[in-house]
Subunit: 200 residues, 2 copies
DNA sequence: GTTACTAATGACCAACCGTTCATTACCTTT
DNA sequence: AAAGGTAATGAACGGTTGGTCATTAGTAAC
């Protein structure tokens, strides 16, 4: 009477006792679920289903949905990989590092999962963008000079954010289908314009 | 026993009979709620509370949450305003039209509300970006020529998307604080680089 | 074979959601 | 003043969610 939904299966589930394997399976399933549905719409029951276990076990391993999200998502290290430190030939290096890393990432990549999750949850999206911007600033502050350096760096980050959504979040259309090398060329030209500033 | 949540108030609510005023109040409240919490997390009860009426009345006026969302959000006209048709001096006109329109918009602007909603809901974000891209293509296809015109247009759209998130969704940091005129100059230079393509 | 430990299960709960609908109160028309 | 129409209310419902917990079943040690 209380719960009209079947929360059980017809035949009792065969028990597999393997906590470590289950833990990693949950993390993988969580990344996929958060990426597909976003944090708010992803459910623990769905994550458990993907991992081939019950939702009670997910709670046992990670305590709460939020702790599971934190455990599944990447830390600052991944951002460092995306935007490596100062380089002499700036635009090309920045463009190449970003595009090549993102193009290589598969569906289970934690950074891709974070970006897709961010598209569905407000606190997450704010955190992601501030992280990307802060990382851009930390990486390029020493090589981007001038009185408006901070603004140029922010414009740089905004370009990366725009590419990210068009190519990796939506995942279809001309930009998504574009060859990596040509995209890097275009992005380099565009970043150079931003870093050099508006010249007549 | 069935519903443990209080769905009523202690003293009966004083009834105000004004369907038109209520309708517009609901639409305003809906834009605010969707912008703040995203489509999925926004609730009809909260929208009704903001509008000063009951959630039953929201259902009466708009039938369902989805229909309310559609009614509250802007149509293609707003995108036309954001990205006007072909112009001779492309980058400057594109940059100016976009930035000036967005900077002018207040918190209740339907387009701002749509963008903020998109940051919290997956179907919405996909719809928004495809709309922005299609509008970019329709607006600039006749003036952007060459074999890779579609890709350049898509890159243009991605830059607008990136600026949108950094400046208008997050709303803080160097790019958000930047003077409109300087931003237009920077964006023009960046768009020119994309539209002209990578030249050595 | 028995015991002890704990991984794993699944029934249950409280809260909240969108939606429905009988009831009520306001306003206009007679 | 009575009636009719309908704007507005709020109780109820079915469904889903994150979280709890008593029970069960694998497994290793003795």
């Amino acid at each position: 009477m209380y719960n009209s939904v079947m929360d059980h299966e017809a035949t009792p589930r065969r028990r597999v006792r393997d906590p470590e394997a289950h833990r990693t399976a949950i993390l993988e399933a969580a990344r996929a679920a958060f990426a597909e549905r976003g944090y708010a719409r992803a459910t623990i029951r769905d994550i458990a289903r993907r991992a081939g276990i019950t939702h009670g076990l997910v709670m046992r391993h990670f305590g709460s949905k939020e702790q599971l999200f934190i455990a599944a998502m990447p830390g600052p290290k991944d951002l460092e990989e995306l935007m490596p430190g100062p380089a002499s030939t700036l635009p090309e290096r920045i463009a190449r590092a970003f595009i090549e890393r993102m193009d290589r990432a598969d569906g289970n990549d934690p950074f891709i999962a974070l970006i897709r999750s961010a598209a569905s949850d407000e606190p997450t999206v704010a955190g992601l963008y501030s992280a990307m911007r802060e990382r851009s600033a930390a990486a390029y502050r020493t090589v981007v000079t001038g009185p408006d350096a901070e603004e140029r760096i922010d414009l740089l980050a905004s370009q990366l954010i725009g590419i990210t959504f068009s190519r990796y979040v939506i995942g279809s259309g001309p930009l998504a289908d574009m060859d990596s090398e040509r995209l890097i060329e275009f992005l380099s030209a565009s970043l150079r314009a931003v870093l050099q500033g508006p010249e007549p």
